[in-house]
């Protein structure tokens, strides 16, 4: 399981109380370009690949929410 893997992001998403829809809108607000259905499929571990740039935007959305909730955990960013 890698740092930016769907399993890590999905587990943390549940922990910080974000729905997949909420997370998508945060990702979209940060400039993400992948559509909502594909993001959902990626988080569910289905065969959708996100490139590192898009993945980092998704990770940023999760990490900002972690800060909001006071959670110390931060997902490491993917390297380009």
């Amino acid at each position: 399981m890698t740092a930016g893997s769907p399993q890590v992001l999905e587990t943390l998403r549940r922990e910080i109380g974000l729905s997949q829809n909420d997370l998508y809108w945060r990702y979209f607000a940060l400039g993400g370009s992948v559509d909502r259905k594909s993001v959902g499929c990626f988080l569910d571990g289905q065969s959708v690949v996100m490139n590192p740039a898009e993945l980092n935007i998704l990770i940023q959305a999760v990490n900002e929410r972690c800060v909001e909730t006071g959670l110390q955990a931060q997902v490491p960013y993917a390297s380009h």
Binding site: A29, L30, G31, A53, N56, I57, Q60
Partner: protein, 311 residues
């Protein structure tokens, strides 16, 4: 009689007689005039009355509501009219863009007003697996509702789970023994709970309208039927209000997201132009600044774009 100045002296005697006649004639005319004036005034008053009568007839023909004199002993049919009027008011609430709590408040007010046995009323809502009472007419209604939630039994919970009217049988104390103790302490003699549901839709188990009576036989069959009509109104209100809230929330989220994308895009463009970066590198630069400053990326982008670093 003394001579009248200006008249020939030779005619003075005749003139005196003639003058008396003239005075009498003038007096007659004055009296006649007054009588004519009175007659004219009476005629005008009669004409005004006729005009008013005609105007009333016209209004009546146009469908204007007739004026009904109030009487101390109201007609029994007035009750029916009041109920219909109350339900018409609720229907209007549905279309007046009222928020859910306000519509629900109206529902419980009407419940106590039109359902004979209902002394206290409340609405139980179900969000996920959590019950709540957003509106109630009296604190005791809230108290007995919360007693249901904590004891996990009672008429409104059953109404929600079974989607049927509950609490109508006299044996409600045996049905919910733990809750019944607390209900009786709060002075509840009988209870009626009707589910909020719209048949053949996905909107199931929205909540329930709870009606409490201080009397042991508080609710008649007619009350139950009335409660069902009321709950149908409340269910529609809940669905309409929820959908409206959801739409407004989605629209607001979308607009905020667009604004955020816009400012982040501008900031990335500035970094790309100033430092010869790719789009990915520009985003990484913003992300690192965001971490270093312990600030949201959107805020870092806004500061870069506006040159405002005061916050």
């Amino acid at each position: 009689m003394p001579a009248i100045e200006g008249l020939p002296a030779s005619t003075q005697g005749e003139s005196t007689r003639a003058s008396d006649d003239v005075v009498e004639e003038r007096l007659d005319l004055t009296v006649a005039n007054r009588e004519a004036m009175v007659e004219a005034r009476e005629l005008r008053a009669a004409q005004r009355e006729a005009e008013l009568d005609e105007r009333e007839r016209q209004l009546s023909a146009e469908g204007a509501p007739p004026t009904v004199a109030s009487t101390p002993n109201a007609d029994p049919s007035d009750t029916g009219r009041n109920i219909a009027s109350s339900f018409a008011d609720i229907a209007l609430d549905l279309f007046s863009a009222g928020e859910l709590p306000e519509v629900m408040r109206r529902i419980v007010e009407v419940a106590t007003a039109v359902i004979g046995g209902c002394d206290l009323a409340s609405v139980t809502m179900l969000e996920g697996d959590k019950y709540s009472t957003p509106v109630y007419t009296h604190s005791n209604a809230l108290r007995v509702d919360e007693a249901q939630y904590s004891s996990d039994e009672g008429p409104c919970i059953d109404a929600l789970l079974t989607m049927t009217v509950t609490g109508t049988t006299p044996g409600w104390r045996e049905q919910w023994p733990n809750w019944a103790v607390q209900a009786e302490e709060a002075g509840i003699g009988s209870v009626l709970a009707v589910p909020l549901r719209i048949p053949n839709t996905a909107h199931l188990r929205l909540g329930a309208v709870n009606m409490y009576s201080r009397s042991g036989d508080g609710f008649t069959e007619a009350d139950q039927e009335m409660a069902l009509i009321l709950s149908a109104h409340a269910a529609i209100a809940a669905v309409v209000a929820r959908e409206r809230d959801e739409k407004e929330h989605q629209e607001r989220t979308f607009q905020e997201a667009l604004a955020s994308r816009d400012v982040i895009g501008q900031a990335k463009g500035m970094l790309m132009e100033r430092h010869q970066l790719t789009a990915e590198e520009a985003f990484d630069a913003l992300r690192r600044s965001s971490q270093d400053l312990n600030s949201k990326l959107r805020e870092v982008a806004r500061q870069l774009v506006t040159g405002d670093e005061s916050n």
